[in-house]
Symmetry: none
Subunit: 222 residues, 2 copies
DNA sequence: TGTTTTTCTTAAAGCAATATAAAGTTACGA
DNA sequence: TCGTAACTTTATATTGCTTTAAGAAAAACA
């Protein structure tokens, strides 16, 4: 499970966030000071850092900039904690470093889903890097797929299907696994549905990427 | 050459300033009353307004605030005329939206160089805007958006929505993220509310900037 | 080769998400 | 306090994605 570091000067907030994240199964480290936070980050190498923008001693923004310069944290996602109503454009400017921001007061459920989104994005990005060598980029943030500079806007299901298959190239995904991952366990759809979506993808990306493994399922190839 | 409007209740000063500015090649309009000045400004659309802070009937600061709300004067620079030593008026004046101030008594040479500085600044800004292809300026101080010189007055919610989307162009914002960031976690509004605001924005900015990503949310493109 | 199984293709139905218009609220300034 | 602008909701239309269905094709098997 993902490792998370929280940096906030208010002990209450630290406690609440930590409690909720631990309950959800994350590994959590907390710290009430920006400079200490940087030191911890270096050793702890968290997947996500939740960082309060407004802190009395060290400014969260500066902390973020410092963190961003550390090569060992290249994959670490930084998420700002801000009071609501603060200038978005300002935040955007600071966004040079931060990947997301959460507004206070933080609702636990929102926090969890946000962290999940961030870590998921992280997973995908790691794959993306591997994939980019072959000029096949699946960009979940922009919700587009790029192949040799060409850009494809895929509908939701097609995108999810492709993202799944491409997440492990050459590995065959069985039909019921695909159904479960893309459509979910609760929703039941016919078996042909997959075929149709595969066909749509082949239509758009060319016939060379998604191979049929008869009797089993499909796999993605470059 | 630049157009200048002078608003001051003292006829002497009007005459002196006008004489010197005309001699320097400026087009000058003069007026001895705040309210009349506002009317003239609307039609004359000056590049610079020289405005006396201390006037018997209407306060120069109020006049300035009124002028600043007029969209047609978005590019007009306002320069206060103050008696020397009035520290407070300087501060209040710049708060009210003035771009510069000149202390009385006015030395012609100082006046000219000051006006030149202001207009030059203005030119520079216009150029900058024209040159940047993505001339999409989101001005949070005045709640105004500019696109290729066109100015839009957006209501709060529309502005916040646009500011959010535009803060990360091409990135898709999910509907619940939009709701959280623009409306807040505690306030619950219907899902269609977003659509309606998007529609309003598209109506004003043109259909080309906010793209729908069906099933996910919206994104901003230049 | 004939039969069976599985997948492919296509069109069309079904459905969910979004767009739009209009009416109802709320907030705000004159 | 009235009138206007902003905001939200509601209802309906529309879009376009998803799914189904059914025949054709391909592969597997005997």
């Amino acid at each position: 499970m993902s490792r998370i570091l929280i940096i906030d000067d208010e002990q209450d907030i630290l406690d609440i966030l930590k409690y909720n994240l631990v309950k959800e199964g994350f590994e959590v480290e907390a710290c009430n000071n920006g400079l200490k936070g940087i030191e911890i980050a270096k050793k702890y190498l968290p997947d996500v850092i939740i960082l309060d923008v407004m802190m009395p001693e060290t400014d969260g923004i500066e902390v973020c900039e410092t963190l961003r310069k550390l090569p060992e944290l290249i994959h670490t996602r930084i998420c700002f904690l801000t009071a609501r109503g603060e200038d978005y454009s300002q935040i955007a400017g600071l966004d040079a470093g931060a990947d997301d921001y959460i507004t206070k007061p933080v609702k636990p459920r929102v926090l969890i889903s946000r962290i999940n989104a961030i870590t998921r994005r992280n997973e995908f990005n790691k794959q993306e890097q591997a994939e980019s060598k072959n000029a096949f980029i699946i960009n979940r943030e922009r919700y587009i797929v790029e192949k040799n500079g060409e850009t494809f806007h895929l509908p939701k299901k097609e995108f999810e299907l492709l993202a799944l298959l491409a997440s492990r190239p050459d590995i065959v995904f069985e039909r019921d696994v695909i159904l479960e991952k893309v459509w979910g366990t609760d929703i039941v759809v016919g078996d042909r549905t997959i075929d149709v979506h595969v066909r749509k993808l082949r239509e758009k990306l060319g016939d060379n990427h998604i191979k049929t493994v008869k009797g089993i399922g499909y796999k993605f190839e470059y």
